[in-house]
């Protein structure tokens, strides 16, 4: 499978970049144990590879302190040398995963205080996009790439800009970001990611049947998706929250220099320190409107 000589790819050949959340702080609180989660995901990866012999699966672990590639079906040998009892996918992936988790744990110096810790979604998203660009560069015939985030940790607000950058870059290269969120509350990052890039966001109701959700929703290639009734985005909230009180607002003031959002008129921007003149009065916008009114 490493190098298929004829790259006669039809439109249903997929490259799935799976971003696996391995944040230990989340999995200790989850109702679904990590081992069960992994068992269902591995079965899903196997079925992806079975669906089409040219399909490719790459797994990136999203840890708490680091991210790393743990499996690539195009470079992995088909037969594992050490352990003949396990299929290659399992033994390679599990071994790399274990190494990764030990390394990830060693990197951590302190326990997160307060609320549940986030994992480094922005890092694994960026790595996945770099990999996809390499696939795009490989020539005119390449599998259709997509990203699947298997995430459980809550969003890390400090990653907002980086995650949004990754989302926009994925949108520009027409790479859908699918997300399957197994955490307690909905993830605003992943909802936005899937909405903006045209992917699917699913929050499974019954985690025991995770495999079924994965196979029915995320196994289909992009071409076949247009014939399916996939879960539709239910009310993604694109309202912003103000920087001063963190409240979600309908109307607000934006600093023209740094685009900070405020709910009230301030004299000075708390982010960039610009001093503001008069607030834009409603009169000017009304005259603007008159000038722009269409000639109908």
């Amino acid at each position: 499978m490493a190098s298929v000589p004829s790259k006669l790819y039809s439109d249903d050949v997929s490259l799935v970049m799976v971003l696996l959340d391995t944040n230990p702080f989340f999995w200790t609180t989850s109702s679904l144990p990590f081992s069960q989660f992994l068992a269902q995901v591995l079965a899903f990866l196997n079925s992806m590879l079975l669906l089409n012999q040219l399909n490719q699966v790459v797994v990136i672990a999203t840890g708490y302190n680091s991210c790393d590639y743990i499996y690539d079906s195009s470079s992995a040998p088909n037969h594992s040398s050490e352990d003949a009892r396990l299929p290659a996918l399992y033994s390679n992936l599990l071994q790399k995963l274990e190494e990764f988790m030990i390394r990830d744990e060693k990197l951590g110096k302190e326990e997160p205080r307060g609320k549940l810790a986030s994992s480094l979604l922005s890092g694994s998203l960026s790595m996945a996009l770099c990999y996809i660009q390499r696939v795009f560069r490989s020539g005119p015939l390449h599998p259709q790439p997509r990203i699947l985030c298997l995430q459980g940790s809550p969003d890390g607000p400090e990653q907002y800009v980086a995650v949004m950058n990754a989302i926009f870059s994925a949108q520009r290269s027409m790479v859908p970001i699918d997300s399957c969120y197994v955490g307690a509350h909905n993830s605003a990052f992943l909802q936005q990611a899937s909405y903006i890039t045209g992917g699917v966001y699913v929050k499974p109701q019954h985690l025991d049947g995770l495999f079924q959700y994965l196979v029915t929703v995320f196994a289909t290639d992009l071409h076949s998706r247009s014939f399916l009734q996939l879960p539709r985005p239910a009310g993604v909230d694109f309202r912003a929250s103000c920087f001063c009180h963190k409240m979600t607002i309908d109307m607000g003031y934006i600093c023209s220099v740094c685009l900070s959002i405020f709910c009230k008129h301030h004299k000075k921007c708390s982010t960039c320190g610009s001093v503001f003149g008069q607030a834009q009065s409603d009169n000017t916008s009304a005259s603007d409107r008159k000038r722009k009114a269409p000639e109908t």
């Binding site: 708490y64 302190n65 680091s66 991210c67 590639y69 690539d72 951590g108 480094l120 922005s122 890092g123 960026s126 790595m127 996009l129 770099c130 990999y131 660009q133 390499r134 560069r137 907002y160 800009v161 980086a162 949004m164 950058n165 990754a166 926009f168 870059s169 520009r172 290269s173 903006i196 009310g235 993604v236 909230d237 694109f238 309202r239 912003a240 607002i249 309908d250 109307m251 607000g252 003031y253 934006i254 023209s256 220099v257 685009l259 959002i261 405020f262 921007c269 001093v275 503001f276 003149g277 008069q278 607030a279 834009q280 409603d282 916008s285 009304a286 603007d288 722009k292 009114a293 269409p294």
Partner: protein, 411 residues
């Protein structure tokens, strides 16, 4: 110049002119003399012809540009809310065929690409189009935020005639840009084909007027450098460049897409009132204020006047409130927090302390040359991860995140 003049006078009768210019070459010969396609080939070791590998040259050029950009733009305020008028010269000089198939076609093609790129990078900005034809400047579209309407208007106006007038264009644009709010950055980008300007009055006055109105004027020339254009750009703080060929023209054009450094006194910092509309309820029927058509579901509701609009970002047609969504603001954040350029790692400078990694951190591509030596690669100065050249370009041009820095927790 004389042949060019003659061609202009003859207008349509181009076949005769071409014979004059190319000294009686046949059509098939001419394509080769123009394109010099043999220059893009070289011989490899076994004597076979192969295309020249200009990846390394391209990357060196790219890095030089990146460095010069970041050197003077490290912590400089950028004008994120821009009001840009694109002035397209459609005088008879635009019908010249030194760009294939003609200057006009090349210009329209790249203006289209530019408009899309511009709105991608500056979602809160607006563009307007002006054409110069028969010595008069015509407004083609008013300032607006929808790329499709501009592109459609430009595609419908693909003909050129008459002289070009820089002054008329400046006066017209100046009149429009004077009305925009004070926080906006006023810019004009002139795509000038002609080698002369046919003005009704003193152009110096118009230049001074632009300077006074704080309009940043930039010109991209398609023929040769002109003093008056250079003066205009110098006076108003813009950029003047002349395109050598189509690829160069495209590059010059796209240089104007990222926001330019802001000059503090050009735009007054201000708070802008904006609305963050919610999506309309699924299945509800309403007449949208932009197309005046009844639509089911789909669309957003202005939080102030409850009018329905189809797309964001836009300005509410009823109450004039600027309507955006939070991702539109987030799209501009990478201009505010640019990532540092990566340092080039020379193959010889292998630190004895740590062995350099064999693969690119981003895409896992091998960094080793066939001879098992470290090939051309770069490293992030912050996280010290190694990247391949292609990832370097992708990270700085499109992603705006360093995968290495993002995948290690900062405490």
């Amino acid at each position: 110049m004389s042949t060019g003049e003659k061609r202009r006078l003859n207008g349509e009768a181009e076949e005769e002119d071409d014979d004059d210019i190319d000294g009686g070459l046949d059509a098939w010969e001419r394509t080769y003399t123009d394109e010099r396609s043999w220059e893009a080939l070289e011989e490899d070791e076994s004597g076979l012809l192969c295309p020249i590998d200009n990846k390394a040259i391209y990357h060196a050029q790219y890095r030089r540009r990146l460095r010069s950009l970041s050197a003077n733009a490290a912590r400089i305020q950028k004008g994120l809310i821009r009001f840009l008028y694109i002035v397209v010269d459609l005088s008879r000089a635009a019908s010249e065929m030194d760009f294939r198939p003609s200057r006009m076609v090349v210009i329209t093609k790249h203006v289209e690409a530019f408009i899309r790129e511009f709105f991608d990078q500056n979602p809160l900005s607006q563009i307007g189009l002006v054409t110069i034809k028969d010595g008069v400047a015509h407004p083609l579209t008013e300032l607006g935020g929808s790329p499709e309407s501009h592109i459609k208007a430009l595609m419908g106006k693909m003909e050129c005639s008459g002289d070009s007038s820089l002054q008329n264009a400046l006066d017209l644009v100046c009149g429009y840009l004077d009305q925009i709010p004070s926080y906006g950055h006023r810019e004009v980008l002139i795509l000038y084909s002609a080698l002369s300007t046919c003005d009704p009055g003193d152009i110096m006055e118009s230049i001074q007027k632009c300077k006074k109105s704080k309009i940043r004027c930039s010109v991209i020339g398609l023929s040769a450098e002109m003093f008056i254009c250079k003066l205009l750009c110098q006076e108003t703080g813009g950029l003047y460049s002349v395109a050598m060929d189509e690829a160069h023209f495209k590059e010059l054009m796209l240089d104007h897409a990222p926001p330019p450094p802001a000059i503090a006194e050009f735009a007054i910092a201000n708070l802008i009132k904006m609305g963050f509309p919610q999506r309309a309820a699924e299945g509800s029927i309403a007449i949208c204020s932009c197309h005046k058509e009844a639509k089911v579901g789909d669309g957003y509701i202005c939080p102030r006047c409850k009018a329905r609009v189809c797309e964001l970002p836009t300005e509410c047609r009823i109450c004039g409130l600027t309507l955006v969504s939070s991702p539109h603001l987030a799209r501009s954040y990478h201009h505010l927090f640019p990532i540092t350029p990566f340092d080039e790692v020379s193959p010889r400078q292998n630190t004895p302390l740590q062995r350099p990694p064999k693969t690119c951190f981003g895409c896992q591509q091998s960094l080793l040359n066939p001879g098992n030596k470290l090939g051309l690669s770069v490293a992030c100065p912050k996280c010290n991860q190694y990247f391949c050249v292609d990832c370097d370009i992708y990270i700085h041009e499109s992603l705006h995140n360093c995968p290495g820095c993002e995948s290690f927790r900062h405490s």
